[in-house]
Symmetry: C2
Subunit: 185 residues, 2 copies
């Protein structure tokens, strides 16, 4: 059986064979749009918002949070490449609602391996020696779905490096229906 890496390289060879006119796309997003959303495997922002290759910057992290690094990326997106509409899209059933900084730190201090979630909470399958480093990180957990969207829009909106000319909108993507809902104050 082929390993995952080889399978993906095979798929990519097929993609490259029909790449054609995509070679002419500009690095400047045609729709002047940047999307910040979660890394979740059930989300495909180009698909769920009907975008074509070349239309938008897509920034993704755990939770779709307005982390310092997301803001670094957004500021570059406007400053160097001219996007002026930014969509912050969180989603239902997000893993970031199921942790907090305390249990992430504890879990990682016992083991770096994958934990499982049962009725009593997260449990490590092994206790093979982890790292205390996890206790010094803000994992950016989400305690309230809609508030986290409003907070992230607000953080971006009020950031000293974000121009007033940029429009920032918040959305919730429902993983059970595929639907986007705008979330406003």
């Amino acid at each position: 059986m082929k390993a995952l890496k080889e399978k993906l390289m095979d798929s990519n060879a097929g993609y490259a064979a029909v790449f054609g006119k995509n070679a002419e796309l500009s690095s400047i997003p045609a729709k002047k749009l940047a999307i910040l959303t979660c890394m979740d495997c059930r989300l495909d922002p180009a698909e769920f918002s009907g975008l074509s290759l070349g239309d938008a910057h897509v920034i993704r992290n755990a939770g779709g949070r307005a982390s310092d690094d997301a803001i670094r990326s957004l500021v570059i997106s406007h400053k160097l490449l001219g996007t002026d509409q930014w969509f912050v899209i969180h989603h239902t059933d997000c893993g970031m609602e199921m942790i907090d900084n305390s249990n992430m730190g504890e879990l990682l201090s016992e083991s770096l391996g994958t934990a499982i979630l049962d009725r009593e909470g997260w449990k490590n399958l092994q206790r093979d020696g982890g790292s205390e480093e996890g206790k010094f990180i803000n994992w950016l957990p989400i305690t309230h779905q809609r508030n986290s969207i409003l907070e992230d829009v607000k953080r971006i909106r009020e950031h000293p490096l974000v121009s007033e000319k940029i429009s920032v909108y918040g959305f919730l993507f429902d993983v059970k229906t595929g639907r986007l809902e705008e979330i406003k104050d």
Copy 2:
């Protein structure tokens, strides 16, 4: 003419109408894969590596860099959702090769608005008052395309919160051909 937001909501309504069995997808990536890549508008990681919805976590930022926030996301990806193969994918003609920390800080201190690149370098179109904040940020510029991939793979590989059981691979995506090339030491 409809505004961008309304157009995207219309497209999304069409997507939701045929969402169907996607509602049953697990939050656990079927291919146990996480991809870290650039926000660039010419990249669609699901397309160029032949992935389906539900297969992989996708983390994206300016440059596809192994920032602290990318590592936060990757560690969550393995610890809570079991991914064990991570692909770091940078690309040719990346905007991060065209800046350094010094000119980003200077440009932003003059204006928050979009700058243009000409033969003499980046220039602000306005000087309408920016912010000194940009001088205190590491923008994670790229000085050497292939080295930046190797450095990022190394940072992830050696991070105290990354399990030895995870495979980390580096790739370069060519925006002129659509082709992925593995980059190794």
